[in-house]
């Protein structure tokens, strides 16, 4: 008889995220409820949670770049990124992001996934450049448009990473696929798997570039906004700040 009750943990996560409770709280409550419904004693749940947290420190590691990025921002890094784009002829938001995606996919395909990323490159360089390109072509942006350009910059990094990294034979996901199939007696080399990441990588490039170039057209149609450069001025109206002060 399968125990379906632990699935309630998933419902809690979905509800908690949808109702915008603090995500850390949602995740902790869901973990404890799921564990208890799975007939684990409380201390066991706590131990599994703690163990899982400690084993995954690697995902938080990338923030060691913040002191460098912060220091350079203090000395005008974002402003310089803008200035560079302002002087460049023909640099539109869409074209700029397409070029970035090519680099991101190629680097990821070479196994160099962590040389670029949201903290390393998107916040200090890519997003300010994309914003500057939009402002150069279309004048000051209204808030929604600036938000869209920033979100597209982050999205481009993700798409480039996801649909580049599996072409590299030693990436963890390829090794995982190999291991999972081996459990069923199917022996494949990493190379046999990674070549099949290429068609999807091409599709990802075509689809996302089309959207990026389309973004240029949308930008040229949007009503001009007021106000100065939209780049990361500390926004007091921000509903979401990464930490809540509700």
């Amino acid at each position: 008889m399968t125990n379906y009750w632990p699935l309630l943990g998933i419902v809690l996560v979905v509800l908690g995220f949808a109702l915008r409770f603090n995500p850390l709280l949602v995740v902790a409550v869901s973990a404890i409820v799921t564990g208890l419904l799975g007939h684990m004693p409380f201390l066991k749940v706590l131990g599994v949670l703690g163990h899982g947290f400690n084993e995954n420190r690697i995902v938080t590691l990338i923030y060691i770049v913040l002191p460098v990025i912060g220091l350079l921002e203090r000395y005008g890094l974002q402003q310089q990124a803008r200035a560079l784009i302002m002087r460049m002829r023909g640099a539109t938001t869409g074209r700029l992001l397409v070029v970035y995606m090519v680099f991101r996919q190629l680097l990821a395909a070479l196994g160099l996934t962590s040389v670029a990323g949201q903290a390393q490159t998107v916040r200090p360089l890519v997003a300010p450049m994309a914003l500057a390109a939009a402002e150069k072509e279309h004048g000051a942006l209204d808030e929604d448009t600036a938000e869209r350009v920033k979100a597209m910059s982050a999205a481009t990094d993700n798409v480039g990473l996801f649909y580049g990294e599996d072409i590299f034979i030693a990436v963890s996901s390829i090794l995982l696929i190999q291991g999972a199939l081996k459990a069923f007696g199917i022996e494949l080399t990493p190379f046999e798997l990674s070549v099949w990441a290429i068609p999807s990588a091409i599709c990802a490039f075509v689809i996302h570039s089309t959207r990026l170039l389309w973004l240029d057209r949308i930008l040229s149609r949007h009503p001009r906004g007021r106000g100065g450069p939209a780049a990361f001025k500390e926004n007091p109206d921000s509903r979401f700040r990464g930490n809540d002060e509700a």
């Binding site: 706590l46 131990g47 400690n54 590691l61 974002q78 200035a83 990441a197 689809i207």
Partner: protein, 318 residues
Amino acid sequence: MIDMHWLYAFAGAVFASFAVSSVRERGNAKRWGNAAFWSLVALNFWFGDLLGDIGNGVLVLALVALAGFHLLGRGTAESTTIKERERFSERYGNKLFLPALIIPFTAFIGTLLFNYTPLRDSGLIEAKSVTLVLLGVGVIVALIVCYLWLRPLPMSSVDEGGRLANAIGWALVLPQMLAALGAVFAAAGVGATIGAVAGAIIPQGSIFLAVLLYALGMVVFTMIMGNAFAAFPVMTAAIGFPILIQQDGGRAAVIGAVGMLAGYCGTLMTPMAANFNIVPAALLELKNQYGVVKVQVATAIPLLICNIIILYVAGFRL
């Protein structure tokens, strides 16, 4: 040999510096909450292996309590003004990019040098951690260059790092927290249950429908877990192997590789993949915390359709 533990020690120091910077921020009413939060993260990086599972669990609950009771908050951390930054940018010009590029270049050139020279056999750096270790080296080199060249105040890098960290806030540890949730889900048998449900609703006789269900199963399960890696073994056991490969004779390499990539379409559409979708919203100071997910959906859905076609054609028709 330099391995991940060296890097964790360095990361612990960086997070401790965020705590110091939080305390220094006198104008912020929540500075002690911020400082406690980053101190706990530093503690986890430094002593995680000594605390034991329960110890780490208590640490997790403490982090959750700080965030859940709204004890964290961004202050009005002093930095340079936009006007000052524009002046600096005119003064230093494009050379400002160099320190920022030192980090990726050290990681990139260093990894190549390490892998294609006798250094690889020297045992200096643990082979599987090379890029990350060199990323850490890059950060240290970049900091040294910045201090020698720009001559900021001694505490500037601490304060500026803390400013960014407090702007991101609790979202910074959410990815690690979700990974821990994944461990609990696995221990409670959530994956196996979902696999059993998915396996039970497979229609007989239509290869295309089975492919469709496999891909959609990967997407939905990835969206729930925030991670295609957790979904893959479950969907392979439920549909990928028994139905697509064994019963219908599909090409195993395609079913495996493209199945995973279909799952990545799910990663693009879920807030559970916090490091890709929620943290960037905080880093880029978006108003909508789901802003990144929102723009990714229109790429993910056509891409999912492509992946389903590739699965079907390359897996069964070629």
